[in-house]
């Protein structure tokens, strides 16, 4: 463990605690203070960016459980997010159910759909699974587009503002609190999941599924569980996204997004809790930077007309490739290295 020298444990509970030292607690408190006061000094624009960052962190955390911990590559995550988004939209719009019911049902339905498409994972893995999740996404989007009387089809569907206990969430600031709260819950859940029996089973399956089976891990059950949890979180993210945007159309859930989620996971670091956070923030800021800078650059240096169009995907592709080659353990690993060296500074060896 990366703890300063001299920290001792007197009980198992203490040894297992996530926040161990006073510094940890102080940092956590500071983070919370900063997070919860953000709406005071951010405008709607940056709050909206923060909201999407939060939602994406939830989605990528789900993908992390599925791909990072359990090793089941899914390139259809945007499809499962769409299931959640539409479930929530349909329940709150057509059936006028409360937001929380929509949110939970979104998670559950996305989880079940994920499990359904995850069944082949029992027999196949790697590329086969990647393709079947791509297929899942295309089929899901097709169904959404054509089940017109439920989903609104190509015309899309309006999503009412969420109401919890009489409070209506209709500004970016209010959404921010809702999303931050859920994101923190999800991260906490993911952190702890990795330390439970299922979490360890996932890791065993990822590292060598045959060996795991021989050790007595029920592959069928745990792989499907990973699909369920991963897609459940995707559904939660989808539901939040639906309510934040207020209007849904299936065009919002593109296969490129699914690939970008994988990219975020790789850049952040697979199989770590902080990985998704780093990856999402990194990609979102990079994206923001590119879309801010590239038109200016194109104008200033008289670059070819395709510069602005092409530079985004090119940089994302390059970043994914470079991270896989140079730092396959992602930013999370760099963060570990930084913490270690910072702790020993200036007497590192």
């Amino acid at each position: 463990m990366d703890l300063p020298a001299g920290v001792r444990n007197f009980s198992y509970a203490k040894d297992m605690a996530i926040f161990r030292t006073k510094t940890h607690w102080a940092m956590l408190l500071l983070l919370f203070v900063v997070l919860f006061t953000l709406p005071l000094y951010l405008g709607n624009h940056w709050l909206n960016v923060a909201n999407f960052v939060g939602i994406t962190i939830i989605a990528v955390t789900g993908l992390n459980i599925l791909t990072g911990y359990c090793g089941q590559l899914s390139i259809g995550h945007a499809g499962f997010i769409a299931v959640g988004a539409y479930t929530s939209a349909v329940l709150t719009n057509r059936f006028e159910l409360p937001f929380l019911v929509g949110l939970i049902c979104a998670g559950l339905l996305a989880g079940f759909v994920g499990m359904l498409f995850g069944i082949p994972s029992v027999r196949v893995k790697g590329f086969y699974l990647a393709i079947s999740t791509i297929a899942a996404q295309i089929i899901i989007i097709w169904v959404i587009n054509h089940w017109t009387n439920i989903t609104g089809g190509f015309n899309g569907i309006a999503v009412p503002e969420p109401v919890i206990a009489g409070i209506t969430f209709d500004t970016q600031g209010e959404f921010f609190y809702l999303i931050v709260a859920i994101t923190i819950l999800v991260i906490f859940f993911a952190k702890n999941l990795a330390r439970t029996r299922p979490g360890r089973a996932f890791i065993a399956i990822r590292d060598n599924d045959l060996a795991a089976e021989v050790m007595g891990i029920n592959l069928f059950r745990y792989k499907l569980l990973a699909f369920f949890i991963g897609c459940f979180l995707a559904g939660i993210a989808g539901s939040l996204m639906a309510h934040l945007m207020g209007f849904l159309s299936a065009e919002n859930f593109h296969i490129t997004d699914s690939i970008l989620y994988i990219g975020m996971l790789i850049i952040g670091g697979m199989g770590t809790t902080v990985g998704p956070i780093f990856g999402v923030i990194f990609i979102k800021l990079l994206d923001k930077g590119i879309s801010f800078l590239s038109p200016t650059l194109e104008g200033a240096f008289n670059l070819p007309a395709g510069f602005t169009t092409g530079i985004g995907p090119m940089v994302f592709g390059l970043v994914i490739i470079l991270f896989l080659i140079i730092e396959p353990r992602g930013l999370a690993h760099r963060w570990q290295l930084f913490k270690a060296s910072y702790r020993l500074w200036p007497f590192s060896y």
Partner: protein
């Protein structure tokens, strides 16, 4: 030991500073321009890059050129310079919502988007904030029920209605009801036409025999056209984009379906690219509706537009989308002018712009670039007219004057 503590303290302080400064920096970026009285701010959310860049780029260039023209040569609107805040939404719905928030924050008075998809993503936020805006290419669902979102151009449903009217009056010679088959792209382009057809076909006296659908990536539509052929339709209406339309038309010619049936196209299909992709002989005689004039037509705004286009974006010359968005710039200026004249510069708010700008539009002719722009209560479509074109000898020629498309009583929830 002390040293470590010290370093830790500094580290912590640095981290805290960073955490606090990031949002502050961000907040700084969001509102970087000062409010000045001699300028009026508008926001453009442009799909300059991304999958729709092909249309978004010339449109973005056109509206920025047009505002430049208004500011430089006309001295702005009513003496006030128009300040544009434009952002690239990359045809990404999530980004579009971020941008609409940014535009509201920045104090814009109104906004526009190019595409219906990006307006769909922005509409909810704009409606919640009473922030008016219009989409150049729109979908019926955006303006029904009418709220704070307007449509510059007739939508794909209006296209269908206008074509159907024209067909019944001028082409259909037979007895009874003509049999029509629809071939639609699997997105809102196709869905708009279908929504109109479902509502109006019975009243107009058109027998909708089948609705086929295709994907933008299609490489063969022989199968769907075979099914259509079996039903022996009199007219085939395609609402799609140039590339799939070219495949459908080529396959229709191969099958011997066309010539034979009458073919009508929605405005997204009937462009020069279609002629280039399919070949002039394949598309000979195809009808289509389009809402703007052509390059080189004799209308008042043509000279300046051509001059600016040649000077700043010569690569866009000949592109129909440039015309559409130049007109968009003119309409934005007209809305602002009306609002300033009616309520005065000091009282300008987005709500005032909507009440006294958008809703005061009356028979503004947009330099003749497209049909006149009028607001009628309960109908958030600004321009309602299209012309019917026919392709002959590889040229897309207008064969009618401006036809008004009726308002279609859509019901969306």
């Amino acid at each position: 030991m002390n040293c470590i503590k010290l370093s830790k303290a500094t580290g912590l302080a640095c981290l805290a500073l960073m955490l606090i400064s990031i949002p502050l920096l961000g907040a700084g970026c969001g509102s970087d321009s000062e409010d000045t009285v001699d300028k009026v701010k508008v926001g453009f959310s442009i799909c300059y890059t991304g999958v729709a860049a092909e249309k978004g780029r010339p449109m973005g260039n056109a509206k920025l050129d047009c505002i430049k023209y208004i500011n430089e040569e006309l001295g702005g609107v009513a003496g006030y310079e128009i300040e544009v805040i434009w952002r690239d939404n990359e045809y990404d719905a999530a980004k579009a919502t971020t941008i609409i928030n940014e535009l509201i924050d920045a104090g814009c008075l109104m906004f526009t988007t190019n595409s219906s998809a990006m307006m769909t993503a922005s509409a909810e936020t704009a409606n919640r904030e009473d922030f008016p805006g219009f989409a150049v290419f729109s979908a019926p669902a955006l303006t029904n029920p009418p709220q704070h979102i307007y449509a510059q151009m007739p939508d794909y449903g209006d296209d269908w209605a206008a074509f159907a009217n024209y067909y019944l009056e001028n082409i259909w010679q037979g007895e009874g009801e003509p049999k029509m088959a629809l071939h639609l792209l699997n997105n809102s382009t196709g869905a708009g036409a279908k929504a109109a057809a479902d509502l109006l076909a019975d009243d107009l006296g058109i027998d909708l025999v089948t609705v086929e659908e295709h994907d933008a990536s299609t490489i063969s539509e022989i199968d769907s056209l075979t099914r259509i052929m079996a039903l022996d339709p009199d007219v085939l209406y395609i609402s799609s984009t140039p590339q799939p339309t070219s495949i459908i038309l080529k396959d229709a010619v191969d099958l011997g379906l066309y010539p034979g049936v009458t073919v009508g196209l929605g405005h997204a299909s009937i462009t020069d690219e279609l002629v280039e992709l399919a070949g002039a002989d394949v598309v000979e005689g195809v009808y289509g509706v389009y809402p703007t004039v052509n390059w080189g037509d004799d209308v008042p705004a043509m000279d300046k537009m051509t001059e600016y286009c040649q000077q700043y974006h010569p690569e866009d010359y000949g592109n129909m989308d440039y015309i559409t968005s130049w007109a968009e710039g003119l309409i934005v200026a007209e809305i602002l002018r009306l609002a300033i004249e009616n309520v005065g510069i000091e009282n300008l708010t987005p709500q005032a712009v909507e009440e006294h700008g958008f809703k005061a539009l009356n028979n503004f002719n947009v330099g003749g670039l497209h049909g006149p722009v009028t607001y009628t209560a309960g109908d958030n479509r600004l321009s309602k007219s299209v012309r019917v074109f026919q392709i002959s000898g590889g040229e897309i020629m207008p064969i009618t004057g401006w036809i008004d498309a009726p308002q279609i009583p859509y019901v969306f929830d």
